[in-house]
Symmetry: C2
Amino acid sequence: MQRSNDSGIPKFAAIKEFILSQIESGNWPEHSRVPSEHALCDQFAVSRMTARRALQELTEQGVLYRTQGVGSFVASPKSQSALLEIRNIADEIQARGHFHSAQLVQLTSLPCPTVVAAALGLVRNEPVFFSLIVHFDNQTPLQLEARYVNPKMIPYYLQQDFSDQTPHEYLSAVAPLTEADHIVEAVLADEFTCKHLKIGAHEPCLRLTRRTFSREGAVSFAYLTSAGSRYRLGGHLNINPVK
Amino acid sequence: MQRSNDSGIPKFAAIKEFILSQIESGNWPEHSRVPSEHALCDQFAVSRMTARRALQELTEQGVLYRTQGVGSFVASPKSQSALLEIRNIADEIQARGHFHSAQLVQLTSLPCPTVVAAALGLVRNEPVFFSLIVHFDNQTPLQLEARYVNPKMIPYYLQQDFSDQTPHEYLSAVAPLTEADHIVEAVLADEFTCKHLKIGAHEPCLRLTRRTFSREGAVSFAYLTSAGSRYRLGGHLNINPVK
DNA sequence: GGATCTTAATTGTATATACAAGTGGATGCG
DNA sequence: CGCATCCACTTGTATATACAATTAAGATCC
């Protein structure tokens, strides 16, 4: 193959390395112009498609940004943000090697509360499906899931058997998720939550508010509440998976 | 340009849509074989590079996986996990349009506690740098940052002036982050935290435990504690940024 | 039967070329 | 001056071709 050298490093990768080194050394500051595809062709004696690939991949990685008709530029460093993975509770329990089970407490249709209406694009007090489920880690109640489901999207939600399938699994199957909002916060458990999680009144809880979307629109809105002493959100992530 | 139609949809995008539709409809189950580049060329009357691009981008998006010499296959759905963005507190406050300031409470060297030693790869009770800082949103104390810093990596940490630069900014500058661990949990504020955040004894707090790494090793270990009534972790993310 | 070789299929890298499309500056005109 | 036009530059999409590298399966030989 046409390689730039004997070390087996593809040409486009060599160009990427060069650009990254210029940025990391400070030679090419933020928002400064990067050589055009044509300039890189000359500089590295490669075809435009190869130079383009280097620029393209760096753009996908968030290192550069490009504008048609203008040029390519160094992006702002993203080291200020990291990503935390939020997994399904059932998967998480199984990953611990424990046994997951779920107990259905309530499954009904009720008038849509204001907050939920706003989240799902419904009208206040029009019917919305509601399920209340406790997730167990072995025998310990771990998470209380209060979920509102858009009846227009999932008309047969109330007919499901949630003893062998979690709502999340069912929804994933019938309306593949495309997007989700998440809010994580610390709250004090209310009486209702204390009862179902079997915890005391002053126990802090981690509450995850999740809104899911499929292609057609908002599907569900859920409060996932876990006792602070029993559950953490954890994750390890590469901030700059650059090379 | 050579377009597949008048609607302005590029050919490679049309091929991606086709493949996605087959997967979503269940016609092409998990781990099943996807048409080869050559087969797609024939089917869509495009060049191999165009067919390849469709497969390539779907692979980058996690929809497919490919093996040289073997073929392309449908990947396992990833709808079980989402990603939450964790941003720097100063950025987050500024993004709200508020004024961020930080007050340094303590900056010293102390014997390394056991937990910190394990996190940073140090020996228990050997010296470790420690800083305690309160971050303010306008005039309200928002977050208490207790940070342990590896002296072997950042020898001049104690000499810094943290009145105009946060520890995070300083560390980012001298030891670019490559990776980070995060744990999010809900806790009750201890006396120490209550005092600095000016909150009551029974207020639930969101505690983010963050460990950062540069290329050379573990740099710092920090507890970032915020009052539950004042701070949330929020994020919106495309699970499948498909189009 | 088992090890080795060959071959076909598939993905990976690379080139040369062409035209489309967006941006911004220069030019020319009223 | 203000405005429209044109043009050079840059990125975006697409083709046709070539060769490299990897894998799996079949063929061959011992």
